[in-house]
């Protein structure tokens, strides 16, 4: 075993940059997107960098990573990167290598696309593969969705970029809270308290203060210091479980999925926006989650046919108004859509400007 080093940080990125990037670093002039999944960046020097982007399931085996490494060696001197949405990008100096690379990727089963006005890979989280708070699986829902949304990945036929994200609980790893379409696992029942376990593994004060709605109160159960939950006040966020494993929040019958729309993070045109509730609850129906897939595909299609060019989902909805949105999508509007948390009043319509 080599001698122990610490605090060395990551390797310097320069070691991993292809020569064409090293040479033109910070001196790029413009780019083009000739076909889905292919980007051409032209430098002030006239040099060109050709990027081929392929979708991945993000959960990758070393077997596949080695296959990527081989493709990189074969087509672009071993240089590749991953994107902030977990796609893989091969960085080519020679345009002649684009087609062969595309063929090899197709053979391996990795679709080229995700650029321009497309649906790129779904940013997602761990789910049943690795997390304890998950109200649903992540990889499975994403796979089921992308199998149907596949044409939107390998084409660029949408009005604008459409970002889909998935998180398996309200912690929202993956920040689904600002996505064009967000798919969010939700618990819908108050936590079950394990009064035996609790005193051993949890601090009551921390636990009590972890509840956004103050639903948790200290209580003595069978002589032991524990807590009780005012179920009326619980909205199932699971934060108590995050800080205390004895507050089991998952429930196979009542956990499910909610759908949110209209968020964005870029500053282009419209300021960044949060996603808003579209569908409060759909069932967990593995392995294919048909209800969720159907709902998302419907949303994508209604958007694709109605939005104007360059209009993100949220910009489109803002223009037509929410009542029109619910009509067009056929989603029923319910009391669940009306905010009742801290800043609820800020979401009420405080003007007579209405379409009748």
């Amino acid at each position: 075993m080599p001698e122990r080093k610490t605090d060395i940080g990551p390797p310097h990125y320069e070691k991993f940059l292809p020569p064409v990037i090293k040479k033109n670093y910070g001196k790029w002039l413009y780019h083009e997107n000739p076909e889905a999944g292919v980007l051409v960046h032209v430098a002030e020097s006239g040099d060109k960098l050709f990027t081929v982007r392929a979708g991945t399931p993000r959960l990758l085996s070393v077997t596949t990573l080695r296959a990527f490494a081989e493709l990189a060696d074969k087509h672009c001197g071993g240089y590749l990167r991953f994107t902030s949405r977990n796609n893989v990008e091969f960085l080519l100096a020679d345009p002649a290598k684009i087609k062969p690379l595309q063929k090899d990727l197709a053979a391996l089963g990795f679709p080229v696309g995700g650029t321009g006005n497309a649906i790129s890979s779904i940013v997602h989280t761990q789910g049943w593969v690795h997390c304890h708070s998950a109200a649903s699986d992540a990889s499975g829902v994403v796979k089921a969705l992308m199998d149907e949304l596949y044409p939107r990945f390998v084409n660029m036929d949408l009005p604008a970029k459409l970002r889909v994200a998935f998180a398996c609980c309200l912690n929202m790893c993956g920040a689904v809270h600002c996505s064009d379409i967000a798919v969010l696992g939700v618990h819908t029942r108050a936590p079950k308290i394990d009064h035996k376990e609790l005193p051993k593994v949890c601090e009551v004060p921390t636990l009590v203060s972890s509840c956004p709605t103050g639903a948790i109160r200290p209580a003595t159960v069978e002589g032991k210091a524990s807590v009780e939950v005012e179920e009326q006040q619980c909205m199932y966020c699971g934060n108590c479980y995050t800080v205390c494993p004895a507050m089991k929040i998952s429930n196979p019958k009542t956990d499910g999925i909610s759908i949110w729309v209209g968020g964005k993070v870029s500053n282009a045109r419209h300021e960044p926006m949060f996603s808003k509730l579209a569908i409060p609850f759909l069932p967990n129906n593995p392995p294919r989650w048909p209800e969720v897939v159907e709902a998302v595909v419907k949303l994508v299609n209604v958007y694709a046919t109605n939005a104007r060019k360059h209009e993100r989902m949220g910009e489109w909805i803002e223009r037509i108004g929410w009542s029109r949105f619910f009509k067009l999508t056929g989603i029923p509007f319910t009391k669940y859509h009306i905010d009742d948390f801290t800043h609820a009043g800020e979401t009420f319509k405080r003007s007579a400007q209405l379409k009748h």
Partner: protein, 398 residues
């Protein structure tokens, strides 16, 4: 172990079908390992029962570090002993997620020897995720990683692994060196990264321009977003080219400009740059014709986070414009000042964005030593609940 091989996973198998690459195939790629066999078993069980089978347990990690490893344990350990321990290692990615095939193979070799062989490329904070290690494997993994020049990322209440957009490496719109500063900050704050000492996690993300390709405004406690001060550079000939080849400059560009500061007369595109809010839209639509200005820098925003507890937050403007040149001393001093004040007065599990709202942005600025400027707000207060201080009143009344 042979019996494991035989365990059927019909539900998961269904997810091997279809055009999108399958995570199940990926898992099965490593199924020669008992650990991965048990993972398939546990996962199939979750698919049958509609519930996860992982629990958090005692802290695990490597010697001298408080972060970088997420402990996971199966609640079906007797049935699936090889995933009784199934921890995650977060490995600090290189700036911009660039690799060579060689570097990638190094990582694969290490993970092959000591873990499940399953990864996430990448985790949503940006780390390389090694998914599924036993406790005893952690030190060897760490030793081999550092030997090859790699280190762990953040977890817990520390500075989380910073990340950045591809920026100047491949993007013509980068207003500063996102990769450079990301590396510099990561190296400069190794202690804050590895040894959790904050009230809660603190994330930093670097985006080279307002397109914000790392979603920093939504996902980072400190969002550094490139921008510029002077005029957008316009190549009128190229604008006309776009118009010729079918772009409706008026509709697609001028009418969608949030500040309506552009005018197109069919020949020239005029921009009232003083009104431009640097949203990037026109540049996005006409990349060959328009470029950000030459006085480059960044806007520093603060406080984004997920919903729990008070509701999700987007970062808000903290420093409207700052020059981003090595050694980035201003930025480092700012981080230190924030960590000092928040570190001392922040509650346990209170993110800096929540903290600022609790103590008030006005007083927070005072503590950090920044002057309030209108750029920090959407609009001044509408409620009359002003905490007047004597100076103000006396100055006016004497």
């Amino acid at each position: 172990m042979s019996d494991k091989k035989k365990r059927a996973t019909p539900l998961l198998d269904d997810l091997e079908k279809g055009p999108w690459p399958s995570f199940v195939k990926e898992i099965k790629n490593e199924a020669r390992r008992p650990m991965v066999q048990d993972l398939l078993g546990v996962l199939e069980r979750s698919y049958e029962e509609h519930i996860g089978h992982w629990k958090h347990g005692g802290l695990v990690g490597v010697m001298g570090y408080g972060g970088g490893v997420i402990g996971r344990y199966s609640d079906l350990a007797t049935e699936f002993p090889d995933v009784a321990e199934f921890h995650t290692c977060r490995i600090n990615q290189p700036s911009g997620w660039f690799y060579t095939s060689e570097a990638l193979r190094d990582l694969c070799d290490i993970w092959d020897r000591h873990g499940s062989g399953l990864t996430n490329m990448h985790g949503s904070t940006g780390d390389i995720i090694f998914l599924g290690a036993k406790t005893e494997a952690l030190e060897p993994i760490f030793a081999e990683l550092t030997a090859k020049g790699w280190d762990l990322g953040g977890s817990g209440s520390d500075m989380r692994t910073p990340s950045c957009c591809v920026g100047p490496a491949r993007c013509e719109w980068a207003n500063y060196d996102t990769l450079g500063v990301c590396y510099d900050i990561t190296q400069g704050f190794q202690d804050e990264l590895h040894r959790p000492a904050f009230p809660y996690k603190f994330k930093i993300k670097f985006a080279g321009c307002p397109n914000d390709c790392v979603a920093s405004v939504a996902r980072a406690d400190l969002s550094i977003i490139g921008t510029w001060k002077d005029d957008i550079r316009v190549d009128q000939a190229q604008v006309r080219e776009y118009a010729k080849s079918g772009t409706d400059i008026q509709k697609e560009v001028c009418d969608l400009c949030p500040s309506r500061c552009m005018a197109w007369n069919g020949k020239d595109l005029a921009i009232e740059n003083a009104e431009c809010v640097k949203c990037m839209h026109c540049i996005n639509v006409l990349p060959k014709a328009l470029r950000p200005g030459k006085e480059k820098g960044a806007t520093i925003m603060i406080g984004a986070k997920a919903p729990i507890i008070g509701g999700a937050l987007l970062s808000s403007v903290f420093v409207p414009f700052i020059e981003m040149e090595p050694p980035y001393q201003d930025l480092k001093d700012l981080c230190a000042a924030i960590w000092d004040f928040w570190g001392e007065h922040g509650k346990n599990r209170e993110r800096v964005g929540e903290f600022i709202q609790r103590v008030g942005l006005g007083s927070f600025l005072g503590q950090i030593g920044l002057d309030p400027v209108p750029e920090m707000i959407a609009h001044p207060r509408t409620n009359p609940y002003i905490f007047f201080e004597d100076e103000l009143v006396e100055a006016a009344t004497k």
